[in-house]
Symmetry: C2
Subunit: 190 residues, 2 copies
């Protein structure tokens, strides 16, 4: 299983590709940033990011694309460009029939560190450890994309509480994930 993580951004869009290994380990395949120029018009910036994501999809052929899911945490003006980049990333995957998974920042933290409230450095250290890297992944947006990809591989199976699987039987990481996912469950409007 190969996952491309996408940390959407209009100026810098983090991209990270990770392969699942046996025994819940993972291997770094590629990490980088898709860029667009802030002096270009918005449509040309979205096209530039879209084309770079298409190149990554062609070059690395991921089985899944994991994209950061946003909610009402930031101001609307900040969120719009980010949401549009997330949109064209999802579109690029959907055009190739590659499944898309959306994970919130809290879900990423919970899956990678076992706590939905871990700080950025804790997440990056765990990602480096999981991938067997000597140093923290750089740049930071690329590290977030790797964390997203690792999150998708490492999310606890059956983490959602259900009649068949009460909260009490979960591990700490599964409970953190379930809490993060529950908090994120809001309907998509349109």
């Amino acid at each position: 299983m190969r996952v491309l993580g996408v940390d959407p951004g209009l100026t810098r869009c983090g991209l990270g590709v990770v392969d699942a290994l046996p025994a819940r380990r993972a291997a770094l395949v590629a990490v980088g940033v898709a860029r667009s120029s802030s002096t270009d018009d918005l449509d040309l910036r979205l096209l530039a990011i879209f084309e770079q994501i298409e190149e990554w999809l062609d070059r690395h052929a991921p089985d899944v694309v994991a994209v950061e899911r946003y909610f009402a945490s930031d101001s609307v003006s900040t969120v719009i460009g980010t949401a549009q980049v997330a949109g064209v990333a999802m579109l690029a995957a959907a055009r190739r029939k590659i499944p898309v998974a959306l994970h919130t920042p809290s879900e990423v933290k919970a899956a990678v560190t076992g706590s939905g409230r871990a700080d950025k450095t804790q997440v990056q250290r765990m990602v480096a450890q999981i991938l067997g890297l000597a140093e923290l992944p750089r740049p930071a947006d690329a590290a977030d994309a790797l964390a997203l990809a690792v999150c998708h591989l490492w999310r606890p199976a059956g983490a959602l509480a259900s009649p068949q699987r009460p909260v009490q039987s979960m591990t700490a990481a599964q409970r953190a994930w379930a809490a993060a996912e529950h908090a994120a469950r809001r309907p998509t409007r349109g």
Copy 2:
């Protein structure tokens, strides 16, 4: 000059095509709605809307695509899906090298009615009158897309105040437009 207006929405995305005629008149070419199913995943919904917009671009070959520009007026959760549809619409145009223009709702009202504070019905009545339609355009999202296209054709030339063109020399419609555009000028973040 032919303009495709796009009123972005995830469930219903309004589309309206208008041709400029001499003497500041305009002709309706096509009006409709691109739809996606609310039960589908977000990536498939964006793909569905993208493909319908591509069909409209191929069928009607507009010279410009005019898309509604959003700002911090609505809640973030409402804006995200809308922004993503606007993003894939801009992408569809950019991939065909068709220029994209963004207009705020206030700019549309100012260009169509002469007042940035006109209500929806006033805008629709003016759009119907400009296009020589016996009835108000339906459905409402399609009417908004037509208003966007008409706005792009009818926006006052040189409406922005400048040393060469002081505010005092503008018509009422030009002043309303300039005020709406000034209010909308915020940097795109990324």
